[in-house]
Amino acid sequence: MTTTPAAIRFSDVGQVFQTKSGTVEALRHVDMSIDRHEFVAVLGPSGCGKSTLLRLTSGLLKPTSGKVEVFGLQISEPRDDIGIVFQRPTLLPWASIEDNVVFPVRHKTGSVSAADRETARKLLEKVNLKGFENRLPDELSGGMQQRVGIARALFMDPDILLMDEPFSALDALTREEMGFELLRIWEDRPKTVMFITHSISEAVLLADRVLVMGERPGSIVENLTIDLPRPRSMETSNNKMMHDYVGHLRSLLLKRAA
């Protein structure tokens, strides 16, 4: 047994939202934990509270009941060691790519140092965008823009990376490439990753473990460890175990939807 606390731990978390049309119970009795440097995918139908899970972890939202801990400390406000990648890249259209990557430090402290710019350029090189530093977001494709979004999330060198369906707006081919690129970055510089997705194959292909969420009110209905060898590649897609995992998760989701 390790003595270090889990990177992320949810203990009996419930979340209720007050809306104009009444109360909505988004999460009920969520228990789960993610170890340090583990890559965990959260899979589930839309509206099951996957994004709520992510917002609770980021500290943007306080749980109605239960406890959310990051590295053993209960979350009371957003932390500096968490980076977020959103579904849409949401870059600043007036700022150059480099300015977009250094935006977190400019926004937090009001100034940007030469060292920050150096960090940004290295990150852009890492996400294969060397030479695009001075372009505007408009001049980049959707996939490239999302890579800038990833570089921006990595800028503060967070321990935890929260990704909210980051590749769902991309075409199938780009989506697959981006997945492998993300794994390459993750293997090079390990991080704890919580990856929200509704794609079964994406979850299996990328993650160490897949958590499946059920319909609202969301709770964890399956915790599946993915024992596929790393580093993963296009070859992994042909692995027989991969098919078994995907088949198992698909029938699980279909059964629950029925």
Partner: protein, 279 residues
């Protein structure tokens, strides 16, 4: 082989009509030609009708006679009138921006304030400025101040509404990013919300700059001793209709130039905020 030849031969005919576009098609294709052509045609019809039907010039002077109206007073007098109107319009316009943007920020930040103040703004906007102008002049005297206030009243509403809408239209993800960084609120406004509102602010700035000229003229109608509004009213009271028309032409040109300046400012300093050109 037969397939490829069929494709190449079938692709040839559609190109033929493109080789010789009609005059009409060319006029439609060039963006400047069509409006200029329409404008020239209207002026021509106007000129010809005035002579053909012998319309008295106090009812509708021909364009050629309006040109004569420009000579009725010398250039320095024209400039004094232009400057009188322009000064009030610009001071009112900038004062309005200066007041409207902080109010928009306050409204966007506080739903309670928004609910409290918004109906008042609608009431102010619903009050015809022309009707309020004499009251304001009586209350504030006959200096520049009442004229500036009238100009502010007319330009203020579109600026507040548009800027508030723009401030609320920021992508929610960036607001979450800002919160997750625990950045101060004023930086959320200055670095995210205000820049994202730029396209909205400029659409209001374009409307308001022409409204500012209207505001200045309305104020001059009520009480003034210079300005193009005063000049037009004075000219018509003396039955110098061509002269009034000449004043009107200058007024329209002033509005157009001011509008184009706002358009140019957006193009030069905020090119990213313009709608994407369709290819």
């Amino acid at each position: 082989m037969s397939d490829t030849s069929a494709v190449s031969s079938s692709s040839a005919p559609p190109e033929a009509p493109l080789a010789k576009p009609s005059l009409m098609a060319r006029a439609l294709a060039s963006p400047g030609l069509l409006p200029v052509g329409t404008f020239v045609a209207i002026i021509a019809v106007w000129e010809i009708s005035c002579h053909l039907f012998s319309i008295p010039s106090y009812i509708l002077p021909a364009p050629s006679r309006i040109l004569g109206g420009f000579d009725s007073i010398d250039t320095s007098r024209w400039l004094a009138h232009v400057w009188g109107t322009l000064r009030v319009a610009l001071i009112g316009y900038f004062a309005s921006i200066f007041v409207a943007i902080p109010i928009a920020i306050a409204l966007a930040r506080s739903p309670v304030l928004s609910r409290a103040v918004y109906p008042i703004l609608v009431v102010v906007q619903s009050t015809p400025v022309v009707a309020v102008a004499p009251i304001i002049i009586v209350a504030l005297g006959s200096g520049d101040l009442p004229r500036v206030v009238i100009t502010c009243l007319i330009t203020f509403f579109p600026l507040v509404v548009s800027t508030t809408t723009g401030l609320m239209a920021t992508p929610p993800e960036l607001i979450e990013l800002s919160r997750s960084l625990r950045a101060p609120v004023w930086r959320e406004i200055s670095q995210i919300r205000l820049p994202f509102a730029i396209p909205y602010i400029f659409s209001a700035l374009k409307i308001s700059v022409t409204l500012a000229v209207i505001g200045a003229v309305v104020a001059e109608f009520v009480a003034a001793d210079k300005g193009l509004g005063y000049f037009i009213q004075f000219s018509t009271s003396m039955f110098k209709v061509q002269q009034a028309w000449a004043g009107l032409v200058i007024l329209v040109l002033m509005s157009l130039v001011l509008f184009q300046i706002v358009v140019a400012v957006q193009k030069i300093w905020f090119p990213w905020s313009l709608p994407k050109e369709k290819i």
